[in-house]
């Protein structure tokens, strides 16, 4: 099969490069963060490593939401909705833990 990229004009290649830059960079960043977490999980360097792992996950989630799902380019209402669920999850966890952490 012929390489489809070979048929592209210089302008089209520039367009492609411009359009795909953000997705590819996000992809690489996510892989790098995952590598950090997998390494930490496999080696377990210290007891409280789960804190670091969860922080890394938080960064990954934020990357997907803000960049892959383009929340930073959305109007305020969509930004509000993208955060609303997480806020409610925090309510659910927080209020339930008032029971389990104090038993």
């Amino acid at each position: 099969m012929r390489n489809p990229l070979a048929t592209l004009s210089a302008d089209e290649r520039a367009l492609l490069r411009r359009r795909l830059r953000t997705p590819v960079l996000t992809f690489l960043a996510l892989l790098a963060l995952l590598a950090v977490n997998v390494t930490l999980g496999a080696t377990l360097p210290f007891a409280q490593v789960w804190i670091v792992e969860l922080l890394v996950v938080a960064v990954m989630v934020a990357l997907i939401l803000l960049v892959s799902m383009e929340v930073i380019h959305e109007p305020p209402l969509v930004r509000l909705f993208s955060g609303l669920g997480f806020f409610w999850v925090a309510i659910m966890f927080g209020m339930t833990l008032t029971d389990y952490l104090a038993r």
Partner: protein, 558 residues
């Protein structure tokens, strides 16, 4: 008094009534008449009618089951039916009333019909999704109903583990699956409303011109979205526990049944506001119309709706004070529960302030609204007793609780449902119902309700536990009184079913705005045309632009 004078008397009933529009080819009822045009419709108005018919059916089933329960409790020794039958009857009553009547009741019917009209839109944002939600609802409800009737379920509507997972020998599994499915229809309805209210408002219809009915449904829809998925997970885990003994709710493996209650009430307490908020929306429309007065404190009532929908997520633990949750949790949940009283009271004060110095007309919808306010106050205040840790120890799981939530659910939601049904009946059907019969029924329901449920406060305080088929003989008098009240209540329910159906064929044709009410839904025909408005509606300067404004009533006072 000039403002009140101009709107009094018979002139008000048909003010500058445009001709009745019923029967024209243009209206949604007559646009098409095949069965297919109903069952495959994407018109929000027709879907509302589909919902209205089906939930009326569920209401009848739930009410008959309640009748069976009250029949059993006439005698203290449980001689009328077996304990098994009694358990199954109260489970049918609870499951059907909560999951298949109260939760969809006002949103899926009036909300579906009226939200696009009130905001000046042609339809909801996702009409096909709207129809889907009805089919999902019917599929789930039918599934559960078959298992409740053929096999019977004896866990009560709350399906607490471990009774539902390890001990009950009844058809719990299919009932759970059906209830899970019905949850999806709630989510789809809520999603549709949220998106519609955000994106489909007519030009000029800003947030603070929206009727409170729309605000209340917005708040309700947020609860649908934020709470329903959690009950879905809880029920999935329950299904897995019963089917595969996964252990998370089973103490035998170190699981914790209380965890089910946390997940269950994370949804089911906010679900109380799924049931109550839309009713508050209905009352906020009826009261100004029948006082011909601008709603007092409009912004406060709007904010109170959102406030209730938020605070309600912080209080679920007050259902769990005696089940072994930590003292800290009980303390926190108890303290926060009192906060619910604030937005609730804001609403009640504003309704009463609207009535004050209004030009009152006690037609059927207003009778229901007045009944609602009184019963909601009683139901709400007894909630404060239950939220108090020390008192809760005494009245937990007694008839005091039963009476409390029936004052909210029946005295509140059902009265609002009936009030709204009468208020918008001309809009839905293009026909006027019989006003005298309407008033008689409203009074009957109010009396019957109080005779049924007030004695239960006393029974509960004296220590009669809920869900038992037998009780000590000294409680018989109050129980018989309660059962007698239920028959009055039943009569009150039967009358509207008769005269409303009668009016469909023989009622007077309704004008576009029989109550001289404000709001875009009254600007279009009764019934509305297929696409809601023949010409784009003109959004009013202010919401509730009634002849009497609060300013004027202050002047009269001074």
């Amino acid at each position: 008094m000039s403002a009140t004078g101009s709107v009094g008397g018979t002139a008000r009933r048909e003010p500058h009534a445009p001709e009745a529009t019923l029967g024209r080819k243009a209206d949604y009822l007559h646009a098409d008449s095949t069965l297919r045009s109903w069952f495959l419709t994407t018109d929000h108005k027709r879907i509302a009618i589909l919902y209205l018919t089906s939930i009326t059916g569920f209401f009848v089933i739930g009410a008959v089951a309640a009748g069976v329960v009250r029949l059993a409790l006439i005698v203290p020794n449980g001689a009328i039916m077996t304990n098994d039958t009694y358990n199954k009857a109260f489970t049918i009553h609870g499951v059907v009333m909560v999951w298949f009547f109260l939760i969809p009741s006002i949103p899926a019917t009036f909300g579906n019909f009226l939200i696009p009209l009130m905001i000046g839109a042609k339809d909801l944002a996702f009409p096909k999704l709207n129809l889907t939600s009805w089919y999902v609802f019917m599929a789930g409800a039918f599934f559960t109903l078959v298992s409740l009737v053929l096999g019977g379920v004896d866990t009560g509507w709350t399906f607490y583990a471990p009774l539902s997972t390890a001990f009950s020998n009844t058809w719990v599994l299919p009932a759970l699956i059906g209830v899970t499915i019905v949850g999806f229809s709630s989510i789809l309805t809520g999603l549709n409303f949220v998106v519609t209210i955000h994106t489909m408002r007519a030009p000029g219809m800003t947030w603070f011109k929206l009727p409170i009915f729309v605000w209340a449904h917005y708040a309700t829809s947020l609860i649908f979205l934020l709470a329903t998925p959690v009950i879905t997970t809880a029920l999935i885990l329950l299904i897995m526990e019963r089917g595969f003994h996964i252990g998370v709710f089973d103490p035998a493996y170190g699981g914790d049944p209380v965890l089910f209650q946390h997940l269950f009430w994370f949804y089911s307490h906010p679900a109380v506001y799924i049931m109550v908020l839309p009713g508050m929306g209905v009352i906020s429309e009826i009261v100004p119309a029948f006082a011909q007065k601008k709603l007092f404190g409009y912004r406060f009532v709007a904010y109170a709706s959102i406030g209730l929908a938020s605070v309600t997520f912080f209080v679920w633990g007050h259902h769990m004070f005696v089940n072994g949750q930590s003292d800290l949790a009980s303390l926190v949940f108890s303290a926060l529960s009192f906060a619910v009283a604030v937005p609730s009271a804001v609403k009640v004060y504003n309704w009463t302030a609207t009535i004050h110095k209004g030009s009152l007309r006690l037609d059927t919808p207003m009778l229901y609204a007045m009944g609602y306010i009184g019963l909601f106050v009683l139901g709400g205040l007894t909630g404060l007793y239950l939220a108090t840790l020390a008192i809760n120890q005494h009245i937990h799981a007694t008839y005091f609780v039963v009476a409390h939530f029936h004052y909210i659910m029946v005295g509140g939601t059902v009265l609002a449902f009936l009030g709204g049904l009468h208020f918008w009946w001309p809009k839905f059907t293009g026909r006027m119902y019989s006003e005298p019969w309407g008033r008689v029924s409203a009074v009957l329901i109010f009396l019957g309700f109080n005779v049924t449920f007030f004695p239960q406060f006393i029974l509960g305080y004296l220590g009669m536990p809920r869900r038992y088929a037998t009780y000590p003989a000294e409680f018989q008098l109050l129980n018989v009184l309660s059962s007698a009240g239920a028959t009055i209540l039943a009569a009150g329910y039967i009358f509207p079913m008769l005269y409303l159906v009668y009016s469909l064929w023989f009622g007077r044709k309704a004008p576009a705005n029989p109550w001289n009410a404000k709001g875009l839904e009254w600007e279009t025909g009764s019934p509305p045309p297929k696409h809601n408005f023949l010409s784009p509606p003109e959004v009013p300067r202010i919401p509730y632009d009634y002849p009497i404004q609060a300013q004027e009533s202050q002047d009269q006072h001074g």
